[in-house]
Structure formats: C-alpha cells, structure tokens
C-alpha cells in the first residue's frame, strides 16, 4: 500500500513534503481512523491525551515517563499496548499517549516498522509492504 507526502509551503524552505499515513486504533468508539505523520526518527507512535479515556486507561503515577524530541523539552507520556490496523494489517503494538493534547499524531518505529518493508520515495510516495 502506498501513502502520500503532504506538500505545504514553508516560509523557510519553499515546499515542505511530510510523509503521511492512515492507521486505525481500536478504542471504545470502535476502530478510530487517524491521519498521522510518518516519523522514522520517532521511537514510538504518539497519540494525544484524549485517547486515555477512549482506551479506558487508568493511569498510575509510576506509569508516567518522559520522552524528548529535538531540544531539551520533555513530554510526559504513558506507554500502552493497543490494537492497530495499518496498510491492511491488524496487529498489537505499544504506543505512547502524551499527557497533553497539543501533539500531532506520529507513526513511529516501535512495533510498526518491523511489520513492514517501508520504502520512502522522497517527496513522492511511501510504500508499505508486508515484511
């Protein structure tokens, strides 16, 4: 299955192309489709805080961990196992759920990139094939 790049005009670099993909997470609302940025530099898939209620998760203080992006900023998250559907494949994988809402959906490597052979054709398409 192939996914596109999102093309946007940037003030700094002209055209910016960001790889995007659609996946679904099984929540209490059923299979919830999400459009996410494919981030091969992210260790784990990232969802916003409201998924905690949608996945009926009860947080214990010891579950909270910090992750870092670029720079020194820390982001508190919890890691949970969810059922995910991507490129016609359904599997269980761990995802990070941020304890803030203001985060983009990111498709990270853990539990995802080992399911597929992924070919990035720069600024054109991203092909996901069964590994």
């Amino acid at each position: 299955m192939e996914f596109p790049y999102q093309k946007e005009q940037s003030r700094l670099f002209g055209n910016i192309c960001r790889p995007v993909a659609e996946f679904e997470v099984e929540t209490e609302l059923g299979w919830t489709p999400v459009l996410a940025y494919i981030d091969s530099g992210a260790d784990i898939t990232l969802l916003p805080m409201s998924f905690i209620t949608a996945l009926d998760i009860h947080i214990e203080e010891e579950d909270i961990k910090d992750i870092r992006g670029i720079g020194d900023g820390k982001l508190p998250i919890i890691v949970k196992r969810v059922r995910m559907r991507l490129a016609g494949k359904t599997f269980n994988t761990e995802v990070a759920i941020a304890l803030i809402e203001d985060v983009p959906f990111l498709l990270g490597r853990e539990g995802v990139f080992d399911q597929f052979v992924i070919c990035f054709r720069k600024n054109r398409t991203i092909r996901f094939e069964d590994a």
Binding site: M1, E2, F3, P4, Y5, Q6, K7, E8, S10, R11, L12, F13, I16, R18, P19, V20, A21, E22, T27, L29, T32, P33, V34, L35, A36, Y37, S40, G41, P48, S50, F51, T53, A54, I70, E101, D102, V103, P104, F105, C119, F120, R121, K122, N123, R124, T125
Partner: protein, 144 residues
Amino acid sequence: MRSVCCSRPPPAHTSLPAPSPFLQFHAPTGGASAIDARRSRRPARPRRSTHPQATNHIPSQTQTIHEHYAKRGGEMHEELKWFASFPDELKKFRGKHIAIIGTEVVASGDNAIAILKDAKKKFPTKNPVLAFVPKEDALILQVI
C-alpha cells in the same frame, strides 16, 4: 558464520535518517570480497520505465498524487488524499485537531476524541477521520 554487510550507503531516493553508528555492522576482513563477487554475478536490474502507463510508474512532480491514485482505482481514502494536498482551508485549523469526512472538516477543537464524538453525532452513518494540523514549521528543525 554468516557475515552481514551494511556498509553500503542508503539509496539516494530514501529519506530515512542515517542509521545510528551503534546499529552498523561491518563484514569481517575478507567477507566483503565474497559478497562483492556474488553481486557481480547478478544480472543487471532492468531500468524503470518512465512511460506514464507503465505499472511501475511513480507519479511525477507534475502529476498530482490524486491523479496517480485515481488511475490505480482510488485505493487510498479520500480524507487522506485531501489532507495530503494541504488545501488552504486547513490553514485556519493550525494547532487544532480536526475530524474529516470526505473533503470537509466537520469538527475541530483542542480535544481529539471530543471532536470525534461530535462529528459522529452530526454524521452517525459516516466514519470521520482524525488529524492534527501542525503549526507552521512546527515539525521541522528550526534554523536559528
């Protein structure tokens, strides 16, 4: 013991970041020559056709991704295609979560699941798709 060689640079078309130096394996001395010998016996790969009707055609910069997928039977969802095209309408939702049905934002706000519920309430027979519209230049390394 079988040796693994990952010393070749990644192909030019990939946008993956350079692998971590901790994850690189190097063939022991002498191992690489055997692998090179095997490679040299492989028949040359046929070049990709640049004809637009060829099955291995990759959409060109002038052909939109929409046209490409329309030709292939539209296997990608309409919402993904529309989001990827980043229409001007999306700019007013920067920093917000949105719920999309077809080519329309049917709900937006700061709470992804709340807007999903809202969209499902408005359109009970549809399956809205969630997305987050990043702030301008929010996802790239900042040039200082």
